[in-house]
């Protein structure tokens, strides 16, 4: 799934673009330690964590995109880090539940 497609499905706004992103799976979590433990590569991370550390974790596990829920504002340092690390950042007014459902075709068991 391309970033533009993803953004459209969740009524989102692309804050940091990554045209080459190919999102094949999603992981929903707000605990960065949990993300590090379970989240796989190429995933979109669906979260509420509008914190610089979310970029650090996404870089570690190899996420291509972060979906920030509840229209949480993106701090400048987070935006700068995402740009630097080449991680796409999309904000959506949806909750984590609604965003996960809207992106359900990424679910491995649905394929």
């Amino acid at each position: 799934m391309l970033l533009t497609e993803l953004a459209e499905k969740i009524g989102g706004t692309i804050v940091v673009d990554n045209p080459s992103a190919n999102i094949t799976a999603a992981y929903t979590s707000d605990l960065l330690s949990d993300v590090m433990g379970h989240c796989g590569e190429e995933s979109a991370l669906i979260t509420i964590q509008n914190h610089l550390n979310a970029i650090a974790v996404a870089t570690l596990v190899g996420n291509e995109a972060i979906v920030l829920c509840h229209s949480r504002p993106v701090p400048d340092d987070m935006k700068a880090a995402a740009t630097r690390e080449g991680i796409a950042l999309v904000t959506t007014p949806l909750s984590q539940f609604a965003a996960s459902v809207a992106l359900q075709e990424l679910n491995p068991s649905q394929k």
């Binding site: 999603a26 992981y27 929903t28 979590s29 605990l31 909750s95 539940f97 459902v101 359900q104 649905q110």
Partner: protein, 113 residues
Amino acid sequence: MTMMIEDVVKTLDGKLVAGADTGRAVGAVVANDLMSDVLLDDSDDILLLTSLASDQVIRTANIIGAMGVVVHNGKPLPEAMCQAANNFGIPLVSTPLAKYQSCVRIHEFLSRE
């Protein structure tokens, strides 16, 4: 479709670990690990989907009057969490699924005619 806690258990291939069925159906689904965020939701009969395994989750669930709590990734549950769930009478479900999968499956169930 109306979803009771036993439907949640079945749908998520999970187990009811503590607390008992209260006869309340899922009114809203909140997937969140930040308890301060959970407190912002005013919906009734919330089913709380989380990756956090601590008795603090149960206390939060009790404050908002949640109908149930699901912990994901087969995360080990502290006994204090189970005890708290029993004390407050809040059904506590453990599932091997990731939260994302739970969201998708629960929505699929709720959307059935």
